[in-house]
C-alpha cells in the first residue's frame, strides 16, 4: 500500500499540442502532495496521467517514464485498467452513479467488475469505507436511498468512499472541493489528512490556503503563455513553498500577485 511515484521527464500531448513539458518529480508515499498553479497550466492533465485517465481523451498520449514503486506504468505490457485499480480518483464534480443506491455506489468498484462478495463482507466494507470518508453517521439509516439524494458535499464524500473501498495505493483528487461550500470542504480536508495514513494522496487545488493547510509537499506549475506547455516551476516542502520559495514566479503566485 501507499506507493512512491516517480515521474521522469514526462511530456503530455493532446494530439500535436504539448500540454505539459518535462516534468520530473518524486511523489512521496503516506503524504499529501498538492499541485497548484493558474488555470490551464497542466496540473489536471498531469494528475490524470498518474492513472492513465488522460487516455480517455482521443489523441492524448504521454512520453517519458512514470514509475510506481519502480514499475513503469507506461511500459507496453501494462494494462491501464489494472493501473486504475491501484490508483483511485476523485473528480471536481461529485459523480455518484445515479442508478445505484448509496450502498451500491460504495461497492461499485467491485460490483462493476463482477466481483462477487458475501453480503456480510459487503456490509463491512460499506461501513468501513463510509467511516473512512466521514459519511457513515449521516447515511447509515438510508443506505438503500439513491446516491443522488445526498447533498453535494455528501455526494463528494460518497465518491471518496467509493474510491477508497477498492483499497488502492494512491488516491488522486482533482479539485475535489471546488464545487463545495466551506463546511463540506473542511470535512473533506480532514478526511484527506486521515487518508494519508494509508495512501499516497495527490490533490490538485486552486485554493492556496487549502494546499498550505493539508499538504506536506507542494508543486507549483505555470505556463509562459497560451499555447505553450505547462512546466513544473518549483517542488518542495509546503512550508518552504509558502514561506520562502526559491523562484520569483512561485512567490508572486502564492502571495497573490498574479494568477
Amino acid at each position: 500500500m501507499a506507493k512512491r511515484i516517480e515521474l521522469k521527464s514526462i511530456d503530455v500531448y493532446y494530439g500535436k499540442f504539448k500540454a505539459v513539458e518535462d516534468i520530473s518529480m518524486v511523489i512521496e508515499p503516506r503524504a499529501i502532495t498538492a499541485f497548484i498553479g493558474p488555470s490551464g497550466c497542466g496540473k489536471s492533465t498531469l494528475i490524470r496521467t498518474l492513472n492513465r485517465m488522460h487516455e480517455v481523451i482521443p489523441g492524448a498520449y504521454v512520453e517519458g517514464e512514470l514509475l510506481m514503486d519502480g514499475e513503469n506504468i507506461y511500459s507496453d505490457d501494462v494494462d491501464p485498467v489494472k493501473v486504475r485499480r491501484q490508483v483511485g480518483m476523485v473528480f471536481q464534480r461529485p459523480n455518484p452513479f445515479p442508478t445505484m443506491s448509496i450502498k451500491d455506489n460504495v461497492i461499485s468498484g467491485y460490483k462493476l467488475n463482477n466481483n462477487k462478495m458475501s453480503k456480510s463482507d459487503a456490509d463491512d466494507l460499506v461501513e468501513r469505507a463510509l467511516k473512512g470518508a466521514n459519511l457513515w453517521n449521516e447515511v447509515k439509516d438510508r443506505l438503500e436511498r439513491p446516491g443522488s439524494s445526498l447533498s453535494g458535499g455528501q455526494q463528494q464524500r460518497l465518491c471518496i468512499a467509493r474510491a477508497i473501498a477498492v483499497e488502492p495505493d494512491v488516491i488522486l483528487m482533482d479539485e475535489p472541493t471546488s464545487a463545495l461550500d466551506p463546511i463540506s470542504t473542511a470535512a473533506i480536508e480532514d478526511m484527506a489528512v486521515e487518508l494519508k495514513e494509508k495512501f499516497t494522496v495527490v490533490i490538485v487545488t486552486h485554493n492556496m490556503q487549502q494546499a498550505s493547510r493539508i499538504s506536506d509537499m507542494t508543486a507549483f506549475f505555470n505556463i509562459a503563455g497560451t499555447g505553450l506547455p505547462g512546466k513544473l516551476i518549483e517542488y518542495d516542502k509546503t512550508e518552504k513553498i509558502f514561506s520562502n520559495p526559491a523562484q520569483q514566479q512561485t512567490e508572486d503566485y502564492v502571495s497573490g500577485r498574479f494568477g
Binding site: V81, R84, G88, R93, P98, T99, L112, P146, V166
Partner: protein
C-alpha cells in the same frame, strides 16, 4: 395629494374577464355576420369562416384595447399569447377530430366476436379480426426482436467506439434508411424472399417482419444514440477510475443510466411501425384465415385488415366498413397502450434523484 411615481408601479391592467368576454364577443359577431350574410343557396353557415373572422376580430380587439389601457409591452404579450394558443388549437383540432371519428365509427364492432373470430368464410356481418391482431402482434414482436439488438448495438458503436470513416458511413446510411419510403422496404423484403424461397413461398409473415425491421432499425439507432449521448462523461470517467474496463462500463453504467430513454425510444419505434400498411401488403400479404406461423403462408395484419376491408367491400358494404373502423380503433388502442407502457417504463427506470 401628490402621486409619487416610483417607476415600479404596474400600469393599469384589464380585468380578468376581458379575455373570455372578448373571445365570446368576437366569435358571436362573426357568427352573426356569416349567418345573416349567407345566401339561401349556400346552405349552412361556414364554420371555418366564422373561425377565421372571429379570431381576427379577437386579435384586433385585444391589440387595440390592451394597447390603450395597458401599454405596448402587455399588448404585445397578449397578442403573441393569443397567436401561440391558436397555433396549438389548430394542431389539436385534427387530432381530436381523428380520434373522435375512429372511436364513433369503430365502437359498433368492438365486440367479443371481433377479438375471437377470423374472417374465414365470412361474407356478411359478423366475423372478426383475431387473425389480423395475432398477425400484427407476431410480426411486430419479430421485427422488434431483430431491430432492437441491432439498433442498440449500432448506437453503442456510434457513441462509444465509432471514430473516423466507418462511423461516418454508418451514420450516413442510418440517415438514408430513415428516409426510405415504407413501400420500398416492403419491396426489398418481398424480392429478398422471392430470390430465397421462390414465388410460391415468398409471401409470409417473416418477410413482413424483415420489412418492418428495415424501417425500425434507424429509429431505434437514432433514439438510442441520443440517449447514450446525454449520459454524462463524468460517469464513464468515474467508472474507468475504479478500474472498470470499457465494455463493463458501457454494460453496467452507461446503458442502465440511459435505459429509461432507450426503452421509451424502442416503444415509440414499435408504435411507429405497427401501423405500417404498404410493406406488409407486399411482404406478408393478406388472408382471411388464422395463421399462427409467421414462417409460412400469408399473414393478415391490422393495418392491412383495415385497408382490405375498406378497399374490397363485399355485398354487405356496411359490415365491411364497420369492421374496417373497428380494426383502425383496435390499432389505435394498441398504440395507445404501448405509449402508456413507455411512460410507465420511463417512470420506473429513470435514475432517481432527490
Amino acid at each position: 395629494m401628490a402621486i409619487i411615481s416610483t417607476g415600479f408601479q404596474a400600469s393599469a391592467s384589464l380585468p380578468r374577464w376581458f379575455t373570455p368576454a372578448a373571445l365570446v364577443g368576437s366569435f358571436s359577431v362573426a357568427l352573426a355576420v356569416f349567418t345573416l350574410a349567407r345566401t339561401p343557396s349556400e346552405g349552412g353557415t361556414s364554420l371555418v369562416g366564422v373561425g377565421f373572422v372571429g379570431f381576427a376580430l379577437y386579435l384586433l380587439t385585444v391589440a387595440i384595447v390592451s394597447r390603450l389601457v395597458e401599454g405596448r409591452r402587455k399588448a404585445a404579450d397578449r397578442l403573441i399569447t393569443s397567436l401561440v394558443t391558436a397555433a396549438f388549437a389548430l394542431a389539436v383540432i385534427p387530432l381530436v377530430s381523428l380520434a373522435w371519428t375512429v372511436v364513433t365509427n369503430g365502437i359498433a364492432r368492438l365486440d367479443a366476436d371481433f377479438f375471437s373470430m377470423s374472417m374465414r368464410n365470412v361474407v356478411g356481418p359478423g366475423g372478426g379480426a383475431l387473425h389480423a391482431i395475432v398477425g400484427t402482434l407476431e410480426l411486430t414482436l419479430i421485427a422488434s426482436l431483430i431491430s432492437v439488438p441491432v439498433g442498440i448495438m449500432t448506437a453503442i458503436y456510434l457513441v462509444e467506439y465509432g471514430r473516423g470513416k466507418l462511423a461516418r458511413a454508418v451514420t450516413f446510411f442510418v440517415d438514408v434508411m430513415t428516409g426510405i419510403p415504407s413501400i420500398v422496404a416492403g419491396l426489398f423484403a418481398f424480392t429478398l424472399f422471392l430470390v430465397l424461397l421462390g414465388p410460391a413461398a415468398a409471401i409470409n409473415g417473416f418477410a413482413g417482419s424483415i420489412a418492418l425491421s428495415v424501417l425500425m432499425i434507424p429509429v431505434v439507432v437514432r433514439a438510442t444514440e441520443e440517449m447514450l449521448k446525454i449520459v454524462p462523461n463524468e460517469l464513464r470517467e468515474a467508472s474507468y477510475a475504479l478500474g472498470v474496463p470499457k465494455w463493463l462500463t458501457i454494460v453496467k453504467v452507461v446503458i442502465p443510466t440511459a435505459l429509461a430513454g432507450i426503452a421509451t425510444g424502442v416503444i415509440i419505434a414499435i408504435a411507429r411501425v405497427i401501423g405500417e400498411t404498404a410493406p406488409l401488403l407486399l411482404a406478408a400479404g393478406f388472408t382471411t384465415s388464422m395463421n399462427y406461423n409467421p414462417f409460412s403462408d400469408k399473414m393478415m395484419t391490422l393495418p392491412v385488415f383495415v385497408f382490405t376491408s375498406f378497399a374490397n367491400q363485399g355485398i354487405d358494404t356496411q359490415s365491411y366498413l364497420d369492421r374496417s373502423w373497428a380494426g383502425a380503433l383496435t390499432l389505435m388502442l394498441i398504440v395507445m397502450i404501448l405509449n402508456l407502457f413507455a411512460r410507465l417504463i420511463s417512470k420506473f427506470l429513470s435514475p432517481k434523484g432527490a
